[in-house]
Subunit: 120 residues, 2 copies
Amino acid sequence: MNSIILFAHGARDPEWARPLQRLRDSVLAQAPAADVRLAFLEFMSPTLAEALDAVALEGATRAEIVPVFLAQGGHVKRDVPLILQAARERHPSLEIVLRDALGESQAVIEAMAICVLARA
Amino acid sequence: MNSIILFAHGARDPEWARPLQRLRDSVLAQAPAADVRLAFLEFMSPTLAEALDAVALEGATRAEIVPVFLAQGGHVKRDVPLILQAARERHPSLEIVLRDALGESQAVIEAMAICVLARA
């Protein structure tokens, strides 16, 4: 089983997670059989470590982490590799792949640009 | 003159701003005559207040602020209104409009979902 973990910063305001839930729904609408979960750096649960433990426990062989961040900042560059290193030690049979931040994707940038101009 | 201010969080890592610059380039590719600027909440310059002062000084009559955030969290809900209130007092003839966060847009969410699955 391949798990996709949508990994976002998290915030104190519970409403903050709503676009993430809509993103998961949108992925599932296109790929109903996919295993797609959310995980957070702080303020919200599960954490990335907890999500990785859960997919390992449920028998996933591969976890793909998609940072739902606008850019690869300190969190993605510095915090995430440490979390992944610890998770790889806990779950040596789980292949853990870290993808680029979604905001670095040219298609996402172009969709944002269209949105900027749509109501400008 | 209508100015579009792409407003993002900012980070210590200068590379963090690159997707924002690509977003501005993408907007300008579609609307070469638009006045499109970046502004940041912290760590990077100009700040939103500085960007609003600059567009007012350059004769803009309207400033449209587009939060380049994944969701309307505490920053957009709490910090930005205070910055805008102070800017409106400094520049009473400048119309300042705050748009929804780009990450709340369904088109942006769908582009992200396609990107999640493209390499899954």
